[in-house]
């Protein structure tokens, strides 16, 4: 009802933009199809994976690639966005630690090492430079938790020269018998008796094996993970770190929750389950968007809009078999390789990446969408995050960084 800004999409980019606008005193709503990118991702902040010094690399990149979203948002926006997101997480007792000037190397659920700039405090003890201090690491899990195999993780760490062993713990007695998704186990970790029982098992293993640190799946509580880690450290006598699991991602849910709290506090509204089908506007203004609802569409009115619907994965872009890529919410023009045959390089692992992964919406310096002739489609729309053209969020390892920087910029424009 009479919003000043409506943000379409509830990933990091959309929530960052919404927070910015709400904190400026606007009436803001976030309209999203469902839960999404936060719940799928590891809950870390990737800024630029290909360099040891992401900020340094980004400073160079904005000179050489002026159409890259980082160049449009500006490095200052990225730095302010990082400070803001850390504040949001800190406010729910879930600090994010790291350094924009130096990537951390974090073990994955396969035991590979993945560069990222900021991680929750619950993960940081697993950083590779710590793992390499010569003292042994234990990777522990539960048979009942799907898709997390401590012996596999430990073997892969050993193959990279880190002293690590894998072990399965015994599930403490619980009334549940069937389903142990990451979220179910995270809820169990919120029970003191469950933690205490596992803590005793870990203490016995530490006494026997002399482990300096223990890696556990990132399911150590939904909303009080820092406390859980602290308690398990006290019980086991070793440092504890979380390793991200397959979705649904508990660290991602914590981040979503932190933003939800911040947005509520700032007076913004969230409508989850509101799938935007189309917009209605006449150049250069978008007047309304319509979301799917029971029996008929719901019309939304606002003065200003932020499109934060993501790329192909998030559902913001849809690639048709005909070779056409559509922007799904407002039908904005999408920059794509000219034909289907130009989507991919000849080699699967080509170092330059595949052109189709840089498809997206081209924008001007104020993130306003442009058509093929570089004319502004809507002056009151800003596009943020993975819906943008001219970058490859996965290969460049900058998905969260771009989401936050552009989301922050759209929040201040």
């Amino acid at each position: 009802m009479n919003y000043e800004t409506i943000v379409i999409g509830a990933g990091l980019a959309g929530m960052m933009a919404a927070l910015g606008r709400a904190e400026r005193g606007e009436r803001v709503m976030v309209l999203a199809k469902g839960h999404g990118s936060t719940h799928w991702a590891a809950g870390c902040l990737d800024l630029f994976a290909e360099a040891d010094d992401p900020l340094g690399a980004i400073n160079q990149l904005v000179q050489t690639r002026p159409a890259h979203p980082y160049a449009l948002a500006g490095v200052a926006a990225l730095e302010q966005a990082l400070a803001r997101v850390r504040g949001v997480a800190e406010a729910v007792g879930y600090p994010l630690v790291g350094n924009a000037g130096r990537n951390l190397l974090m073990p994955t659920a396969l035991g590979a090492l993945r560069p990222t700039a900021f991680v929750p405090a619950t993960m940081v003890n697993g950083e590779a430079r710590q793992l390499g201090d010569g003292r042994p690491t234990l990777i522990a899990g539960l048979h009942e938790l799907r898709d997390f195999f401590p012996p596999l993780i430990a073997a892969n760490l050993r193959a990279q020269g880190y002293a690590a062993e894998g072990v399965y713990l015994e599930l403490p007695p619980v009334e549940r018998a069937h389903d142990f998704s990451p979220v179910v186990v995270a809820r169990l970790f919120e029970r003191p008796a469950f933690r205490a029982a596992l803590g005793r098992q870990l203490a016995a293993l530490v006494r026997k094996g002399g482990y300096a640190r223990i890696g556990l799946p990132a399911v150590l509580g939904l909303y009080n993970a820092v406390e859980v880690v602290r308690e398990l450290q006290a019980l086991s006598g070793a440092l504890i770190f979380e390793i991200p699991t397959l979705p649904t991602s508990v660290p991602g849910m914590r981040l979503f929750h932190a933003f939800e709290q911040a947005l509520t506090k700032a007076g913004a509204r969230l409508q989850i389950g509101g799938w935007v089908l189309r917009g209605e506007g006449s150049n250069p203004h978008l007047h309304a968007v319509f979301s799917e609802a029971a029996a008929r569409e719901q019309r939304h009115l606002a003065r200003r809009w932020v499109l934060a619907t993501g790329g192909v994965m998030g559902g913001g872009l849809r690639a048709e078999h005909t070779g056409v890529v559509n922007e799904t919410a407002l039908g904005l023009p999408v920059r794509t390789p000219s034909g289907r045959s130009d989507w991919f390089q000849a080699r699967f692992l080509d170092e330059a990446g595949h052109p189709i992964f840089r498809a997206g919406i081209a924008v001007d310096a104020q993130l306003r969408p442009l058509d093929a002739a570089d004319q502004i489609v809507y002056t009151n729309v800003a596009v943020v995050g993975s819906a943008l053209a001219d970058f490859d969020p996965i290969r460049e390892g900058c998905l969260e960084g771009v989401a936050l920087a552009t989301g922050f910029a759209a929040g201040q424009l």
């Binding site: 469902g34 649904t248 989850i272």
Partner: protein, 408 residues
């Protein structure tokens, strides 16, 4: 294969197994009896075929709250898959007497409403009576049963003298709860609508059929919906909005009956397109500047729970939007997925505790608020909230009527 079945079959291919639905499901969070929407929805659906035995009966533990649909990032119609799967079980194994009974809210209401209601209400408060009801029928002895009214809403309406100044018309769908248990909710709605210049018409109507749908009795649900469509379609064709105070009834008329029962005649579609929840309707008036705003301030801080069946309309929070126009009134949203009752789910002996566990977050929030009143749009949720917390509950339309200073 009707077009809904086709879209359900296709929609299950949209499932990317991310488990977001299962992570958000309030029932799977508290019991192993329900393994979660992903398993009994898109996954088990691949094993359900006509003429084949039902592969897994755990779908009966789905409460139908539709949180899964709401959070699904890829648009899978999980709740609809589950509703149809339950009907297949009922078709194979028959409907238990208890479910037959709780699914017939109108019939039960009609029998219990009237001058004898106080006696019946007294009887149903007696522990031995409830014990017997649990043993014989399977309705949990503690489950919140509504108190029957001594008069029906329709009887009151017949004697009601409407103002003669009305410029426009609406048709009111009161549902079973307002007619037999809570006529005061209907009175408040009529007062608000008349205050805003509407003449309120009262079409013939019967139970919307939702309890029949959620207990898998699709045959009876279909005849209920067809009868309602027949009674309502002339209003909808004249462009007279059909407005209801029960969010589940209006959702059933708008979507659940057509979608789940596969009823797609032109009349069904016209009725669906012409039906509104009352706050959806009032909000659209407000957006056009047509809602009266001569409110008295209400200096109160009240907890508000938006029922899962209201969120399933996918309209945001219309009651919050409209009530925010009342000076002084501050609403605190529950942010709880579901109260646990889910219509008739939490009444059942084997599901009562699950319902109470599902609602625990909401009950905590209501109790912590320190308020002596909670607001909620759906009747069974109000009864559940009051049962679990001891805090009185009202429909938001009652507060709106109060803010207008209307005599009820």
């Amino acid at each position: 294969m009707d077009h809904i079945e086709l879209s359900l079959t296709q929609s299950l291919d949209h499932c990317i197994k991310c488990n977001i639905c299962t992570s958000a499901c309030p029932v799977a969070a508290v019991t192993d009896a329900f393994p979660g929407p992903k398993y009994v929805g898109p996954q088990a659906q691949r094993f359900r075929h006509e003429g084949q035995p039902v592969p897994d009966a755990s779908v009966d533990y789905c409460s139908g709250c539709r949180v899964c649909n709401q959070v699904c990032p890829t648009g899978v119609k999980i709740a609809e898959l589950n509703a149809r799967a339950r009907a297949q079980i009922v078709a194979e194994r028959g409907l238990p007497l208890r479910n037959w009974l709780v699914a017939r809210a109108g019939l039960v209401g009609r029998m219990s409403c009237g001058p004898h209601a106080p006696l019946l209400n007294f009887g149903l408060r007696l522990t031995p009576a409830r014990w017997a009801v649990e043993k014989v029928i399977g309705i949990h002895r503690k489950a919140p049963l509504p108190a029957s009214s001594t008069y029906t809403f329709r009887a009151w309406f017949r004697k009601h003298r409407a103002p003669t100044t009305a410029r426009r018309q609406v048709a009111f769908f009161h549902g079973c709860a307002t007619n037999f248990y809570e006529p005061h909710v209907g009175k408040a709605a009529i007062a608000v609508l008349e205050h805003n210049g509407f003449e309120v018409l009262l079409p013939k109507q019967q139970c919307c059929g939702l309890p029949l749908i959620s207990n898998g009795d699709f045959k009876a649900a279909t005849s209920a919906h067809e009868a309602n469509v027949q009674a309502l379609v002339s209003y909808a064709r004249q462009g007279i909005p059909i407005v209801g105070t029960s969010t589940s009834c209006t959702l059933t008329l708008k979507e659940e009956a057509p979608e789940i029962l596969a009823l797609h005649s032109e009349d069904v579609q016209i009725v669906a397109a012409g039906t509104y929840d009352i706050f959806e309707f009032l909000r659209s008036l407000a957006e056009r500047g047509e809602l009266k705003t001569d409110f008295r301030p209400i200096e109160r801080h009240l907890p508000y729970h938006q029922p899962c069946q209201y969120r399933a309309h996918r309209l945001g929070s219309p009651a919050m939007d409209v009530l925010s126009l009342i000076p002084g009134l501050v609403l605190e949203e529950s942010h709880a997925e579901c109260c646990g009752i889910a219509g008739t789910y939490g009444l059942k002996q084997e599901k009562y505790q699950i319902g109470m566990d599902v609602g625990a977050k909401l009950f905590d929030m209501v109790k912590r608020s320190g308020s002596d009143l909670a607001l909620c749009d759906s009747e069974t949720c109000r009864w559940q909230i009051t049962h679990a917390t001891g805090v009185a509950s009202k429909h938001p339309i009652e507060i709106l009527a109060e803010a207008y200073g209307l005599e009820l």
